[in-house]
Amino acid sequence: MIQTILTPMFAETDASTEMLEKLGFLTPEIALFVTTCLVMIIGLSSSRSIRDTIPIVSVIGLGVAGFLAYTNQSTIAGAALGGIMPFLKTLIAIVGIPLVLLMSGTVDRDYENAVARGLPFDSIRSNRGEFYAFLLFSLTGLMLCASADDLIWLFLALELTSLPTYVMVSISSGKAKSQEAGIKYFFLGAVGAAIFLYGFAMIYGATGTTVLFAGDGEYSITTAFAADLADGALSPIATLGVILAIIGVCFKIAAVPMHFYTPDVYEGAATPVSAFLAFVPKTAGFVAILLLLSAVGWGFGAEGTSLPEPIRITLWIIAALTMTFGNVLALLQQNIKRVLAYSSVAHSGYMLVGVIAGPGDGGSIASNGLGAVLFYILCYGFMNVGAFAVLACLERSSGDEIETFEDIRGLCETNRVLGWVMVLCSASLLGLPPLLGFWGKLYLFTSGISAGEYALVAILGLNSAIAAFYYLKLIAGPLLDEPGESAKGLRETPYVGRVIAATVSAVSVVALVPFVNVLANAANDAATVTPAQAQTLDGSEAKIESPRSDDDA
C-alpha cells in the first residue's frame, strides 16, 4: 500500500538522488513506523475494545511490512551482501508476528484487570501502547540494520534495536527481578555499544570514511579494504577496529565475552520478552557482523578464502568458547528460562561457524556459511519462540510464571498441545532430524567442512552432543514423565495469542521441512557475496583475482 504511493513519487524524481533510493528500500521500515505510531495512539484510548486491537494492528503492520519487504527486491548499491535485505526483512516480519502475539498480557494484565473491575482508565498509567510501540521500534531497528550501508547508520540501527528492549525488560513484570535484569542489561549493553562504537571509530581512522558500501566504484570502506587485500593484509588499525566491533556486537548476539548478562536477564524478564531478546538483538548482531565482514571479505588467508587471520582467530575463539560455555552451563540449570538462555548463547556460537566459513565458492548453499547463518536465523526464530511460548502459556495457580523442569513434567498428558509444542521445539533446537533445526545445523556443518574448519566443526558436533543432555530433559519431561505435583497445579494463561504463537512456531518447525530446499536456496541467494573492486591509493582500480567470485554475477 505504502509502496504504491511512494514508488511513482520516486520514479518521477531525479534518479541521482541517493537519499530517495534509500527511502525506496525503506518501505517496510516506514510501514512499521506508521504502525508504531498507530499503536501508541490506540493505547491511549479509553475504550477497552479499541485498546484490545493493539496486537491485531501490530500484526497487520508486520504483515504489510513483510509483504513490502518480500516484493521490494531493491538492493543497496555496491553492497557486498546486497541480497540480504529483502530476505532478512521478510524473515523479521514473519517471525515478528508470533513474537507480537506472544506479548499479549505481558505489561497490561494487572492494570487492565483493575480497569475491568471498575478503576477509571488513565492513559498515563497504562503502558500497553508504549510496550507494543517499543517492540515495533525494536523490530524497525532490526530491519534498518539490514538496510545499513554506513557505519553510522548501522550504529543507530543497532541502538534502535536495543534501546527499546532495555525498557521492555524493565517494565515486563512488576517484579524487582525484572528491574534488576533491566539495569544489568542496560549497563552491559552500554559497554557493548561503547566497544563497537570504538571499533567503528578505528575503522574510520583507518579508512577515512564511514561509508560501508558505495555504488559506482566510489570510495568506501569496502573498496579501501579491497585495496588492503591487494596488499595482502588488512592495515593494523582496521584489523583492530573490526575485531573491536565484533567484540562489541557479541553483546547483541550473546556471545563470549559479552554474554554474561544472558541468563540473568532472560530469567528476570517476563517470558515473552525473553523470547524477544533471544531473537531480535541476536539477529541484529548477526546482521551487523555479516555486513561488516562482507566489507572485509573472505579473500584473505593462504588460499584466499578466509577472513584475515587475526579476525578469523578471534571469531574462532569466540565461537568455540561460546558454544562450549553455553552448553556446559545449561546442564546445571533447573530453571528452564536459564536453560534456554544458555542455549541461546550456544546457538550464537553455532552460527559463528557459518560466519567463519564465509560465502564459499558462491555456488551452492552447501558451502555458503553466510547462507547457512541466514537460514539458521530463520529456524532459530521459530523454535526459540515456540519453546518460550510454552512457558508463557502456563502459570502457577499463584499467577507466577512457570520456570522449572518440575513444572513441565508430563505436560503432554495434562496439556496435549503445549506439551507437544515443547517437545517439537526442543527436538528442533537439539537438531533432531527431520525437524527444521536439523537442516539449519546441517548447513552449518557442511559449510564449516567445505571451508576446512574441521576442528571447529568437531567442537560444534561435540557441543551438539552435550546439548542433548538438557534438550532431552526438555523432551523427556513432558513426554515420558508423570505429571508432578507442581505440574498439576498449573493453569493456562487467558491469552489466546500466546497459544497461537506457540502453535504457529511448532507447526512451522514441522511444516517448513518440505520447503527446506526452497528456503535454503533463498538464503543462499541472499548471502551471495559480490567481490568488491579495490581502490588503491593512486586511484586506479586493481582487479583482484578472488576465488570468491560469484557464479550468478
Binding site: 524524481t13 531525479d14 541521482s16 537519499m19 530517495l20 527511502l23 488513565d122 508504549e130 517499543f134 543507530l156 534501546l163 527499546p164 532495555y166 517494565i171 533491566g182 539495569i183 544489568k184 552491559l188 559497554v191 557493548g192 571509530a201 578505528m202 581512522g205 583507518a206 577515512g208 570510495y219 585495496a227 593494523p236 588499525i237 583492530l240 575485531i243 573491536l244 567484540i247 541468563p263 540473568d264 556446559v328 552451563l329 546442564l331 548453499i365 552447501a366 537439539l430 536439523f438 537442516w439 546441517l442 567442512i449 567445505s450 566443526v457 558436533g461 542433548a468 543432555f469 532431552l472 523432551i475 523427556a476 513426554l479 515420558l480 508423570e482 527446506v516 530446499n517 581502490q535 586511484g539
Partner: protein, 958 residues
C-alpha cells in the same frame, strides 16, 4: 509399480499402519493389533518381490535438496533387502507378541503400536537408503523411537534416566555420523553409498570420515566402552527389547559398517580400528553376561558380545577386501540372521516368564521347566543356540567366523588381528556355554516353595519364539534348506561351512577351537568362578560423565556467572584489554609513537599552550573521579571533565559544540543528581575501600584504549584515501556548507554555520531519527518510572530548618537563587530564541536553542516547582515531543508534494530559502530558510524531552 514406489510404500507402511491404529476405536485392541501388524507384513511381502532383481538394483528415488545430496534415493541390493526383510519380518511377529504380552490392554497397545510403526519405518529407511544423509535422518529417527520406548514406564525414574542415556550416547554417534557423512560429501563430492567407490578425497579426510562413521556404528551397536546404554535400555517392555535392542536397531551400526566396507575398499585404518574394538567388546561383554543378575541383563550383555563379533568380522573383512583367494567376509548375513533367530526368541520367552510367572532374576528361573514346560524348554533351546551348540545354525555361524579369523592370521600383515579375534571368540563361546550350564541347572532344578503361581497365557506368548528357533534347528540340521534361502542374498556364500557335518569331516584348528571353547565353558559353568552377580564400571560411565560435566559447569558458574554486574563488566573489559594487548604486541607498528602534527601546525603557540592546559585539566579531573567518595562530588567532577572538553572545542573554533556541550553538561549533571538521590546510601565500608588492583586494571585498560585511538587519529589523510576522492569529512563539510553538493541531491546548504547545516541538511535524516530517539528516551523514562507516586513517607521525614524559606514542595531552595532565576530565566529564554533564529548563519540552531531553553525551564522548575512550570507550559511534555516531531516531519514532507502547487516534487527534507528584506535598499535582510521550521521541530522535541524527563524525576523525589 516401479521399484522406488515399492520401496517408498514399504518404508512408510509400518508408520502409516501405526498411526491408523490411533483412529480405530480405543477398545478394539485386537483390531488395532491386526492393523499394526499389517504394516510390517506389507513391507515384508512387497520387499520379497524385489529379491529376484536384487543383483541389478540401481539407485532410484526422488531428489530433495540436491546441493547436499539429500534425496530419497533407495537401493535394493542384497544387503539392504536382507536387512529390510529382517526388520519387517520380525516386526510382523513382534506386534502380535506384544498384544499377548500386554494381555490385550487396549491403552498400552494403543500407545505402543504407533511407536513400533515409527521405529519399523525408521529402520527400513536405514536399510534401504542409498543417500547417506537420508540414512542419517532415518538413523536419528531410530534413536528417537528407541528413546520413547525405553522411557515407557512413566512411573519409573530409572527408565527415563536410561532413555536419556541411550539417546545421549546414540545421539553422539549420530552427530559423528553426520560429520563423517558430510566429510565424504563435501571433500569427496559423494553423497550416496553406491558412489563411495568413486570418491576421490585426501587420505586424511577418508580416515576421518571412516573413523567418525566407526564411532557412529560403535555407539549404535553398543561397542565397548559405549555399550552402557544397552543394558539400561532393558527398562523398555520386553517386546521392545526383543525387537529394537537385540534383533534390529542395534544391528544398524553393523549394517552401516557393511554398507561402507563393501563400497569403500582399501582403507588401511579399517581392520586396525574394528577388529580390536569388536574383539574386546565380544570378550568383555560375554564375561559380564555371566555375572548378570537379571534375565534381561544377561541377554543384553550377550547381545553386546554378539555385536562385538559382528564388528570384529567386518573389521577382518577390511583386511582382504578384494582378494578372491580368501574367504570374503563381506556378506556375513548368516551371522546376523543367526543372532536374530536365537536372541529375539530368548527375549520373547523372558517376557513371557516375567508376565506369567513373575520371573525377572536369574535365581527365579529355578524349576521353570516344571512350572512352564513349553517356555522352559524353548528357553533352553535358545540358550543352546546361543552357546553355539552343535546341531544349530549358530554352531555353523561361529565356525564360519573362526575360519575367517584363522585365514586372517595367514595375512601378510596384521596377522595378529586374526589371532586376537580367535582368542576373543573362544572366550565368548566359553562364557556362553557356561551360561547354558548354569541356567540349565536352575531351569531343571526343583521348584522352590512359595514361588508365584503361573498364570495361564495365550499361545501367542511362545509360538513366535518357537518359529524363530525352528530356523536355528533347520539351519543346523538341514543346512541345505537355509542355504538355498540365503543364497539369494549372499554374493559369496561359503557353502560348505553351513553344513555342520562337513565341519566334522574336516577337522582343523577352527573346529578344535569351537569344541575346546565349549568344553571350557562347561567346566566354567560348573565352577564357582564369576558367580557373584554385580554391576560393571561402564554402568556408571554415563552418569560419571554427566557428573563431570556438571562439576566443570559448576566451577565455571561460580567463577563467572555470579550474577554480579561488576564481575561481568570486569570480565568483559578484561577480555577486551587482553584482545587489544595481543593485537598490539603482534604488530610492531603499534609499538612506535605516531607522529601527530595536526594541532601544533595549525594554531598559534599561545593557543597550543592553552590547549595543553585544557587537556591536562580534563585528565586531572578524570583522575580525581575515583578518589572522590561522595556520589554527588563525583557527578560534579564528571561535569568538570565535560567543561574541560568544552574548552577543547573552543580552541578548535567550534563555538556551537562548546555551547551544546555546556548545556548538555548542565542537564546531565542535574539528571544525575536527581537520580542519585533515589539511590540508597552507600555503606561506610564501601566508601572507604581503596581498591588498588581495580585502579591498576582501569589504568591499564585506559592506556591501551587511548593508545589505539592515538594511533588511529594519527593516520595522515594521504595514507587512507585515494587521491582524487574527497577529503576527510570535516574538510568536505566546510567546503560544501554554503553551496551544497551533489551528495545532497541538489539541495543547497545556504548556511554559514557548518554545524547547523550538517544537522538540518546534510544529515537531516539522521537528525530526524535522532529527535525520534530523544522522544523515545523520554517515553522510556516515563514508562520505567510508571505512574507518579507521591511518597508521603519521604515528605514527613523532611526536617524543617527554622528561618529558611522552602520551595513550594518544601524542598530547600536558596532565596538568592530564586530571585536570581526570576531575572535569568526570561533572559535565557530570549537568548534561546536568538540562538534559534541566528542558527543557520552564525553559532546556534534549534538543537542548541532547545538545550538553552531546557536549562532555563529546568531551573525554573527546580526553584518554582511543578505547579509553576505547569502554568508556564500547560502541555504534557509527551505532547510537546509529538508536536515537535510532527512539525519536523511535515516540513520535510512539503517538498514531496510541491508538484501539487505547480512546482516540481523534490526529495524529502529538501530545503528552500529566500531573503526577507528588512529595508528598501535590500542591504539588510533576514535569511529565511525552510530548514528553520525543521529546526523548530528539533527545538520543541529537545525542550519537551529534557524538561519532561527531569520534571518526572523531580516528581519522583517529591
Amino acid at each position: 509399480m516401479s521399484d522406488r514406489v515399492v520401496m517408498l510404500l514399504a518404508i512408510f507402511a509400518p508408520m502409516l499402519a501405526g498411526f491408523v491404529t490411533l483412529l480405530l476405536p480405543a477398545r478394539a485392541a485386537l483390531l488395532r493389533t491386526a492393523v499394526g501388524a499389517s504394516g510390517p507384513l506389507f513391507a515384508f511381502v512387497s520387499l520379497l518381490g524385489l529379491l529376484g532383481d536384487a543383483e541389478h538394483s540401481g539407485s532410484v528415488g526422488w531428489g530433495y535438496i540436491p546441493d547436499l545430496g539429500i534425496e530419497f534415493f533407495f537401493r535394493s541390493d542384497r544387503l539392504a533387502l536382507f536387512f529390510a526383510l529382517l526388520v519387517s519380518g520380525i516386526g510382523s511377529l513382534i506386534v502380535p507378541y506384544a498384544h499377548a504380552y500386554f494381555r490385550g490392554d487396549a491403552a498400552k497397545i494403543g500407545r505402543l503400536l504407533p511407536m513400533l510403526g515409527l521405529f519399523a519405518t525408521a529402520m527400513l529407511g536405514v536399510a534401504l537408503s542409498d543417500s547417506m544423509l537420508g540414512l542419517f535422518v532415518f538413523w536419528e529417527l531410530t534413536t528417537i523411537s528407541s528413546f520413547l520406548l525405553i522411557g515407557w514406564e512413566r512411573t519409573n525414574p530409572g527408565a527415563v534416566r536410561s532413555a536419556l542415556q541411550a539417546a545421549s550416547i546414540t545421539g553422539l554417534g549420530g552427530l559423528a555420523l553426520l560429520v563423517g557423512v558430510t566429510i565424504f560429501g563435501v571433500t569427496g563430492g559423494v553423497w550416496r553409498f553406491s558412489e563411495l567407490g568413486d570418491a576421490s578425497m585426501p587420505g586424511w579426510a577418508m580416515t576421518a570420515g571412516v573413523a567418525l562413521i566407526g564411532v557412529a556404528a560403535a555407539t549404535k551397536s553398543a561397542q565397548f566402552p559405549l555399550h552402557g546404554w544397552l543394558p539400561g535400555a532393558m527398562a523398555a517392555p520386553t517386546p521392545v527389547s526383543a525387537y529394537l535392542h537385540s534383533a534390529t536397531m542395534v544391528k544398524a551400526g553393523v549394517f552401516l559398517l557393511a554398507r561402507v566396507v563393501v563400497d569403500l575398499e582399501g582403507v588401511e585404518l579399517w581392520p586396525l580400528l574394528f577388529v580390536p574394538l569388536g574383539a574386546l567388546t565380544m570378550a568383555y561383554a560375554a564375561v559380564q553376561a555371566l555375572r548378570g543378575a537379571t534375565v534381561k541383563r544377561v541377554l543384553a550383555f550377550s547381545t553386546v558380545s554378539q555385536l562385538g563379533l559382528f564388528v570384529c568380522l567386518y573389521g577382518l573383512g577390511g583386511l582382504h577386501p578384494s582378494d578372491p583367494s580368501h574367504h570374503t567376509l563381506e556378506w556375513p548375513i548368516g551371522q546376523i540372521l543367526n543372532h536374530a533367530a536365537y536372541k529375539a526368541p530368548l527375549f520373547m520367552l523372558a517376557g513371557t516368564m516375567a508376565i506369567h510367572a513373575g520371573v525377572a532374576n536369574i535365581a527365579q528361573l529355578r524349576g521353570l521347566a516344571r512350572r512352564m514346560p513349553v517356555v522352559g524348554w524353548l528357553f533352553i533351546v535358545g540358550l543352546y543356540a546361543m552357546a553355539a551348540g552343535p546341531g544349530t545354525f549358530s554352531f555353523a555361524a561361529k565356525e564360519f567366523f573362526v575360519v575367517g579369523a584363522y585365514q586372517a592370521t595367514e595375512a601378510s600383515h596384521h596377522a595378529w588381528l586374526g589371532w586376537l579375534a580367535i582368542v576373543a571368540v573362544a572366550i565368548a563361546a566359553a562364557c556362553n556355554a557356561a551360561l547354558l550350564v548354569r541356567i540349565g541347572r536352575l531351569v531343571f532344578g526343583s521348584v522352590e516353595e512359595g514361588s508365584v503361581e503361573v498364570k495361564p497365557g495365550s499361545g501367542w506368548m511362545w509360538w513366535p519364539a518357537a518359529l524363530l528357533l525352528l530356523l536355528q534347528v533347520v539351519g543346523g540340521i538341514a543346512p541345505g534348506a537355509l542355504e538355498g534361502a540365503l543364497l539369494s542374498v549372499e554374493t559369496n556364500p561359503l557353502e560348505h561351512l553351513y553344513s555342520t557335518f562337513d565341519l566334522f569331516g574336516k577337522p582343523g584348528l577352527p573346529l578344535f577351537v569351537s569344541l575346546g571353547a565349549l568344553a571350557a565353558g562347561v567346566v566354567l559353568g560348573l565352577s564357582p568362578l564369576l558367580r557373584k552377580p554385580g554391576g560393571e564400571p561402564c554402568d556408571h560411565l554415563f552418569g560419571s560423565l554427566h557428573r563431570l560435566l556438571e562439576l566443570v559447569a559448576f566451577a565455571v558458574v561460580s567463577t563467572f556467572q555470579t550474577g554480579s554486574i561488576r564481575r561481568y563488566l570486569f570480565l568483559s573489559i578484561a577480555t577486551l584489554g587482553a584482545g587489544l594487548l595481543i593485537v598490539m604486541t603482534r604488530d610492531e607498528r603499534w609499538l612506535t609513537v605516531p607522529e601527530f602534527t595536526g594541532l601544533i601546525d595549525s594554531h598559534e603557540p599561545a593557543i597550543v599552550i592553552f590547549a595543553i592546559l585544557a587537556a591536562i585539566f580534563v585528565c586531572v579531573s578524570a583522575l580525581a573521579l575515583p578518589p572522590c567518595r561522595l556520589r554527588i562530588v563525583r557527578v560534579l567532577v564528571l561535569g568538570a571533565v565535560g567543561f574541560g572538553v568544552t574548552m577543547l572545542y573552543l580552541i578548535n573554533r567550534a563555538p556551537d559544540l562548546a555551547l551544546t556541550q555546556i548545556m548538555f553538561e548542565i542537564i546531565s549533571v542535574i539528571m544525575f543528581l536527581l537520580v542519585m538521590r533515589m539511590l540508597p546510601e552507600r555503606t561506610r565500608a564501601d566508601q572507604d575501600r581503596v581498591d588498588l588492583p581495580r585502579a591498576a586494571f582501569a589504568g591499564v585498560i585506559g592506556v591501551l584504549v587511548g593508545w589505539a585511538v592515538f594511533h588511529a587519529g594519527a593516520v595522515p589523510d594521504t595514507e587512507v584515501r585515494p587521491t582524487g576522492s574527497a577529503e576527510r569529512l570535516g574538510a568536505w563539510f566546510l567546503d560544501h556548507a554554503h553551496e551544497g553538493s551533489a551528495l545532497t541531491g541538489g539541495r543547497n546548504g545556504q548556511g554559514d554555520n557548518v554545524v547547523n547545516v550538517i544537522l538540518v541538511d546534510f544529515r537531516g535524516y539522521d537528525t530526524m531519527g535522532e529527535i525520534a530517539v530523544l522522544g523515545i528516551a523520554m517515553l522510556a523514562v516515563l514508562a520505567m518510572l510508571g505512574p507518579r507516586r507521591l511518597r508521603p513517607a519521604l515528605r514527613s521525614e523532611q526536617v524543617r530548618v527554622p528561618g529558611v524559606q522552602y520551595g513550594p514542595q518544601r524542598t530547600l531552595v536558596s532565596s538568592m537563587l530564586r530571585v536570581g532565576m526570576r531575572v535569568i530565566v526570561p533572559l535565557a529564554l530570549i537568548f534561546a530564541g536568538y540562538v534559534f533564529f541566528k542558527g543557520h548563519q552564525s553559532p546556534g540552531g534549534g538543537f542548541i536553542a532547545g538545550l538553552v531553553a531546557s536549562v532555563a525551564l529546568i531551573v525554573y522548575r527546580m526553584t518554582e516547582g511543578r505547579v509553576a512550570l505547569r502554568s508556564l507550559i500547560p502541555l504534557n511534555p509527551a505532547l510537546l515531543v509529538a508536536a515537535g516531531l510532527a512539525i519536523a516531519l511535515v516540513t520535510g514532507a512539503v517538498p514531496l508534494v510541491l508538484d501539487l502547487i505547480g512546482g516540481e516534487a523534490l526529495p524529502f527534507l529538501t530545503s528552500g530559502d529566500d531573503k526577507l528584506y528588512l529595508n528598501r535598499d535590500h542591504s539588510e535582510y533576514f535569511h529565511l530558510t525552510s530548514v528553520m521550521f525543521f529546526d523548530l521541530g528539533v527545538f520543541i522535541v529537545v525542550v519537551g524531552a529534557s524538561v519532561g524527563m527531569i520534571n518526572r524525576l523531580e516528581e519522583e523525589l517529591e
